[in-house]
Every structure is written in C-alpha cells, then in structure tokens.
Symmetry: C2
Subunit: 543 residues, 2 copies
C-alpha cells in the first residue's frame, strides 16, 4: 500500500474507533483538562457516585461484591465503560472500545447468575482490558502499525478464552506503539498520555493499558513484556504489573509480532493491587493451559507462604528466616534521577525497620554488554520483518532508535550471542545464590515518565527479560515534585547524558515512581510472597 | 594437526587405553570368540561364580545387596571390572578403563560404611559407566574425534557429581562415534560391536554403553540422545533406555559437541530394567539439579500410580480407567522388517488380553518432512563446526551421510524451520489428545542391529527428539531368527530400499528387538507408569 493509502486507512481506523464512543459516552468538558487527569473519574461529574464506588474497587473486591449481588455485571460494565471513555478522551489509550458487546456479555452473566444463583466463575462481571495485538473474538485489532490493522479475529487468544470462561467482560482493546517495541506508546493512533501528567508518556509498549487502568477506566488488564512493556507502563501510571517467567502463561493468539527475537516475550497482568495480579495468574494457571499449548511448562501456581516456604523452598534465606533482599541501587550504567533514587531510599529506610527483612547490596554485572546482546537478539533479522510489515508507513523515532541498533545476524553470530546469553544467565544465578538472596529490589527505570519520544534506556527492566526472571513492579506512592531537581554529576555516557537532559522536575511533575522486585526464573511465587511482605511498608493503600 | 599427526595421536590414545587393561584383566581365549558373546561373562570362566552372581544383578537389587552387606563395594567393582574388560575384548566398547580409581573409590565406600554403619547413598558401590564426552574427574576423554581427545577434566559433569555423591563407582568411559551423530559407533577407536552378534553394530551414538551393559560389563550407564543415541543402543543390545524430556536432567559438563543444533539433546540412563532407569532419574532429580543449572525446569519426579493418577493427571484415559495405548505400526515412510513387525505384533497380541489396557491405532503425520527439518536443525551451520573440529581427520561414511544432508542456514531459514517445528509439535499434541491417548507404542527402529556403517534411518527415534517427547525403549525378548526373512514389498523410497538390501535374517541373526513407548513432553512419569503395566506381558524377565 502506498503512503497515502496507508494514511487514508489510518484515518478510517481512527474514525471507526472514535465512532465506538457514542454520544452517551462523550464527556463535554467545561474547560480544558488539567495536567493531572488521574482523578477525573471522580471529579468530573461524568460518573455517578455509585459508579465512582464501582471503579474505585480492586478486581478482587469487585468480584466479591458482584458475587454478593452488591452490583450487577451490567452496572459494573456501564461504570467502567463511562470511565474508559473518559480516559480515552484524556489519554488516547484505546485502540477499540466495545461497550455494546461488553454490556451484552454482562447481561448474559447477570441472567446466568439469576438462574443458577452463583457466579459463572471467579471473574464474574469483572471488566478486563486487553492490549491490542492479543486476540479478542469479534474485536478489530492491530499490531501497532497500519498494515496489520483491521483484522477481526474469530477466536479468542488462549488466555482471553480462559478469562472469558471465568466470567470476565472485555470492554476495550488498548493502544500499543508501532513495532510494539517502544517503552512509550506512539502509533498511527497518536501518543498515549500518562494520566498523572498528560504531557508525559504512559510508557509502553502496553501504554494503553497503563493509562486506562491508571485512570480507573479498567480494573485489570492483559499486557505483554519483552523488555519492560508490562512494567514500564505500570511504573509510569502508579500500578502493579507482573512479568512472569516465560512458558508459564499462554501466549497463543497474539498476532502480528514483527521482531524475530531470541528474547522470550511474556504475557502478564497490570492492576491496582498485588492481590489482583495474583488473582489473574491463579485463574489462568488453574485452567492448566499447558494441556493445550505445547510451549508451556506444566507448572501450577505453587503457594509460597509468608515465611518463604513453598515451591520447593524451605523458607527465606536471611538470618532467623528473614526475607533477604538484595538492593540494586543502580545498574552501573545509568544512575537513576533523584525522584527514583529517593523512592528506593525511602523503601529501603522503611524496610530496615521491618523485623522480617534483611537487606544487602546487590551489584549487577555486565549490564552494558547485556543490553547490547539483548537489543541484537530482539531483531536477529536486523529488523527486516518489521520493515516489511511497515511497508510505506513512516517509522517513528523510537522504532528507528531500537531497530537501528541491530543488524541481520549470521547463524554463527546468533549462536555466539545465545551461548553468551546462557552463560550470563548462569552467572547471574550463581551471583544471586552466592549472596543467598531471596529477591532483588531495584528501580523499574532510571527515571519517571518522560516527555514523548524520549524514553530510551530499557536495561532496568530488559535485564530480567534477558535472564528470563520474573519481575514485578509496584507503586511507591511517591510522585515527582519540584524538589526533585537532580544533582549534576557528569554523565558517564550518552545514555546518562540523554536522560539527564530529558528529565527535569518541572517537566515530570506529578509522575508516579514505581520500583521493581525480581528473582530467578521460575520463582514467580516467591516474588509474590516477598511482595506481600514488602508492601507492608508502602506509604500508599495496598490491597 | 596433520593427518599423520592425528593418526599418531590416535595410536597413542588407543595404546593408552589398552594399557589400562593390565594383565590381570586380560582374558586369553582358548579359541576364537563366538558370534554371540553376550553370555561370555557367565561361560568364559573369567569370572568366579560369585562374580557372575554380582554382575547378573539389577542396579536396584545390587544396591540393596550391598546395603545388606551381602557384597562389599570392592568385590562388586572388581567383578564388574573383570566383566568390562571381557566386554572390551569382544566388543571394543571402552574409551577408557579405570579399575584402579574405581577400586580405590570402592574401598573408600566400604570404609565409610564400616565406620557409619550405613551406605553413603542409594547407589553405594554400584558401578556406573559413562559415555565418553561426559566429564568424569580425572578420566581422559574425547568427543569422538581425535583432536578432542586427551582432555582430563578436573571436575565431574553435574550429573556425575550427583551420582558420585549417591555412592556410584565410575568404572569406565565408553565409546561413541565420530561426530557423536551416528546410530552406530565408529571412531578412531574402531567399531563397537553388538555382543549378541559381533558382526553387527552396537548402535549409537551411545554404542559403548549399549555393548558394555549388554555384555554385563556394567549395570547402569549414562547416555545421551538427540536422535536416538540412548534408545538405539538400548534396542540393539536388549536393554532398557530412557530419553527424558529435555530440561529435566542436567547436561552441564558434556564437552565437545560439534553440532550447532536446534534439536534438544537429552541425557538419560540405559540399564537392564525399568526400575533401574527410574532409580537413576529419581536420584538425579532428588538432588534438585535446577537449583544449580539455569537451563533446567524445577520439576521433581512426580509419582504416577498404576491407575495413571499423578503428575497433574487423574487417571488413564481409556474406558473404565484403562491405559489407552496408541499403536504406531509404522511411520509411513520406512516399514519395519519382519522381526520388528513380529515383535510389535506379539506385544500387541499380549496387550489385547490385558484387562488394564485399551488399544487404538496411531498414524503419525508429516514424518518425512519432520526428518528433513530435524536433520537440518542438527547442523544449522551446515556442519562447519564439525569440519573444523575434525580438521585433517578422515570423515567416516556415517558422518558424511548425516552432515551432507545439511547446508548452512540463513537466519530466515532457521526461523522458518523452527516455526514449522513448533507448529508440528502443537499438531502432534492435538493429534495425541484427539485420540485420548496415554502413550504411544511403536518400533524403536525399522530393523534390528545392522552390519557396520549401514544404519541410516533415524525417524522412529528422532521423531521424539523433534517433538521433545520423553521416550523409553524396552527389550521384547525377541531376537532375529532364520525364520525372519522379510517379504518382498517393493520399496517405496531409497530409505526402504537401503534397509531391505541391508537386512537379512542370516546377517542379523541373534540381534535383539526393542520397542518404544512415547508420550508428550513432560509426561516422563506417565511413560514409566505405563511401562510398568506393559512389561507385565513381556515374555522376558523384567524387574
């Protein structure tokens, strides 16, 4: 298709999406939106008091309330559709909006409960939003670029089918960037904004999920992560996000991936609480997806208790059975800016007083080399398939940025890099064990949400994709203030220079700061158990 | 190194190995050896009656006898060293012989038991033989070609270390072919012979193990399998052999692999009984090797009982809870020759009468295509690394045969083949499930052991490497007789023509016939549980 043909198609796609926001769902603002729209669901008057109550829930408590008939599935869906439409208007987070289908599904659920007296499943009536390239039956989708758009799948992705059977209601598909390989979200749909500061990016590549859930337009979302795409948007939008080990949650039914990658992508949830993340993962694994999907390992969710007992481990490794946390202050390449450092320092101070926790410094190794290998293993074809997929579509700066770091590899080069990757994976396991760690606590990124088209440094998250370690991002309650002016250390490299030039407290004001927990491959359950302890010291409400 | 330099080195290596067989261990035959030397340990007079008793044990019963002090570790080791030396003389199965080190280790074990009153582990004093390229500390080794030979590792391979801690005694390293990619065993050490008919190959690539254990020179051996290298030698030598799912047993410490492969290799045991296979796997997994080796999945041995309950399954799938066995009579490309067909027919007849078993035909799909993909994925570099490793060493016909089927692939080609492989893996799982099978029963090979340098058709075993399904070979008790003349169907292709030209009852007389069980990935425990039922109808003694 020619460039102008693609542009015309993009315009049609945008118009079709916008037409889904029928007049009922359109909010006429009396004045320009504020910079911080995260509270608009509450303050705008667009939602009723009861609707505000509904969208303020956690998925866990909402499902309980629906099961107790405090709310019907229909009114829950309607509340979230209104809130999602508002979020769309302020952050441009939706690729598709499906109030009609969602309300119909909710009606069916209400009728089923009426008839049987019980919920159809643990997510009965809980609205779920889905990153655009994950198939939802009957909902048009794209893979972030124009040529891929317009496909209407006739089957749910495997994970979507499991959630649907559990009673979930699918309200929307959410935006993702061109190539699905930015830590921002810019595509032919435009940019997706952070609801806490709409001049900043929602992050990416699951930025639509980040903004939508952050603005309370959804309660639980399906994201993917091959370099930080679940965790970046979680951090940028004050959310919890979980990237599990690969080969645990089913990825069947994701369409249009354009990277030819030897780094494993993962599917995972983003939500407002740890319990909600665990709820989703438990539901998916209890469906035993490995019985259908040959790529998965048959590993049910293995409970780990507060003492670290479970999943083959006999307790936390610290003295007296305390949780032993390795603090990774920085990665040795790009030092985080002040608000991020301050958030980690604050957490560590709080944890020092926690009688169940033992702290030790953790210094990562080979970080610069790992990034170089990672980025090259994302595109072992040098981006050929991506370029073919884009066709005449203009390449956005961050697409260009990532793909220009790769060249088409020979098989010898792939073999060498994969062998080195495997050796470094072993090295990190040895290092972790030599320090007798249970979990690593570190920044989710060297900075907060940044202005559009500037987010480059992925290593704080992509390190754990390279290692295939599970990792979880949580909100600290900390947001950037005008006091967060950074000191002026001389930048050690171009990456630091770029970040220090990009970040300023004035620019990034209001942006939430997230932190990250990670542990070796397969220790998903231990991370969640550790997070339950760590969240006790969070200064924010945490479910 | 020049060709003559390599030849000189090979001569030295052979001389060094032969010198390990000190005069005490040399058997002076009064007459030429018979064709069938499998019983020579018993009939030769080289072993005492007590030694014959010892080497006639299973590993399981032997370890019990040692624990009960029926035998000392030293006398057990001495018995097996004598029997191994005899096997070496008749079959050329050893790459290294270590009676001195083994007896020293056994002495240490006896002293430890004397002191503590109990065995040091579940393999206390049980002799174990090891395929040559798996590191055993202090034992010289090769990777099947001359340039790789002479390395003396200063550390055990991971699995060897686990077995050593369990009390195992390492008596010998065993031969493997050049490139370790023949289903025979020909290297600079010469050919390794089948003890049941020394004009035939022991199979490969773990042919040294096959011949040594087959001749009762070892009781339990460590083999590897990327196309049938555990199972071929098991079948050819009347043994049980198990190729587990990859990523379960640790492969750390295997040195000198020359294929650049996208088909996963596996390490597994060969032995005289099913219980012995399970013993070894249980011991290795109970050491939790995944805590040290990042490539492994943390999956302990999960008991499956006689009703098929366990490892996440709720019982066998047949009517009334019967084991449902899919019979794969042939693969649609190469029809097995008469003795193999007859062995399978005999098993099926016996199983028909078994009240716990339900039978259904299974027709495999895409077999010819799968072999083409498999062989190319063995050598994505077209054999470049192999050729470099061989240097001036002459390439044996079966090395040439396998490697000449490959060319160096571009990354696009690898991606295409790997994607197709993954799709076919999914297809086979779907097919297996659509038939509600528990296990597949099929030939281990289209024929018995064949004359040297003629074994070509791998698909009956390599299919399950391609799929990464666990598979187990067992002896049927059937051996080739002069009645086993094949009918004269017109060969459908070159592979059939080659086999039909190669096989004759006169040539292959006495060769044992094995059959194979397979089940989808991760179902290792179900195969073993199914084999426990199936072995009830075996006409041979089965432990």
């Amino acid at each position: 298709m020619t460039s102008s043909g693609l542009q015309a198609k993009a315009a049609q796609l945008i118009a079709a999406r916008d037409a889904q926001v029928t007049p009922d769902y359109r909010f006429p603002p009396s004045s320009p939106f504020p910079l911080d729209v995260s509270d608009l669901y509450r303050s705008s008057g667009f939602l009723s008091a009861r609707q505000i109550d509904i969208v303020s829930h956690y998925a866990t408590s909402l499902s309980e309330a629906i099961a107790k008939r405090t709310y019907t599935a229909v009114e829950v869906t309607e509340a979230f559709c209104r809130s999602a439409a508002l979020a769309q208007e302020t952050t441009n987070c939706l690729a598709w909006f499906a109030p009609k289908e969602a309300l119909e599904a909710a009606k069916g659920l209400d009728e089923a409960m009426q008839k049987t007296g019980r919920p159809v499943g643990p997510l009965h009536g809980v609205p779920i939003s889905v990153k655009d390239f994950i198939n939802v039956k009957g909902y048009p989708q794209s893979a972030g670029h124009i040529a891929s758009a317009g496909l209407v799948p006739d089957q749910d992705a495997h994970i979507v089918a499991i959630l649907r059977r559990a009673g979930a209601v699918f309200i929307a598909k959410t935006t993702q960037p061109q190539s699905i390989m930015h830590l921002e979200t810019t595509s032919f749909y435009g940019v997706t904004r952070c609801p806490y500061n709409t001049n900043l990016t929602a992050g990416g590549s699951s930025g639509g999920e980040g903004a939508l859930i952050g603005a309370r337009g959804s309660i639980l979302g399906l994201t993917t992560d091959v370099g930080g795409s679940t965790r970046g948007p979680a951090a940028n939008n004050g959310l919890w996000g979980f990237k599990p080990s690969s080969k645990r949650l089913p990825r069947g039914g994701i369409v249009g991936v354009t990277s030819v990658s030897r780094i494993a992508g993962c599917i995972g949830p983003a939500a407002h609480s740890l319990r909600d993340l665990e709820l989703l993962v438990r539901i998916v694994l209890s469906a035993e997806p490995w019985k259908r999907d040959v790529t998965l390992v048959p590993m049910p969710w293995r409970d780990v208790d507060a003492r670290g007992v479970g999943a083959g481990c006999e307790g936390w490794s610290g003295e007296g059975g305390r949780l032993r946390v390795g603090i990774m202050w920085e990665d040795g390449v790009v030092r985080p800016v002040r608000p991020t450092r301050r958030a980690l320092e604050g957490m560590v101070d709080n944890l020092r007083d926690h009688s169940w926790v033992e702290l030790v410094d953790f210094t990562p190794e080979f970080v610069a080399e790992i990034w170089k290998i990672t980025v090259q293993l994302y595109y072992i074809d040098g981006g050929k398939k991506l370029r073919e997929a884009l066709g005449e579509e203009q390449m956005y700066p961050l697409t260009e940025w990532i793909v220009s770091q790769c060249h088409e590899l020979s098989n010898d080069e792939v073999t060498t890099l994969v062998n080195r990757r495997n050796a470094l994976r072993q090295r990190y396991l040895d290092l972790f064990q030599s320090l007798r760690l249970d979990v690593i606590l570190c920044p989710a990124s060297p900075g907060p949400a940044l202005p559009f088209h500037t987010t480059r440094y992925w290593s704080y998250t992509s390190l754990f994709n390279f290692l295939d370690w599970p990792a979880l991002v949580f909100p600290t309650g900390k947001r950037v203030t005008l006091n967060d002016r950074d000191d002026h250390l001389a930048p050690r490299n171009e990456d630091e220079k770029h970040l220090y030039r990009t970040y300023s407290p004035e620019t990034c004001i209001g942006a939430p700061i997230g932190l990250q927990l990670a542990a070796p491959r397969w220790h998903d359950e231990r991370i969640v158990a550790a997070a339950k302890i760590i969240k006790e010291v969070l200064p924010v409400e945490a479910d």
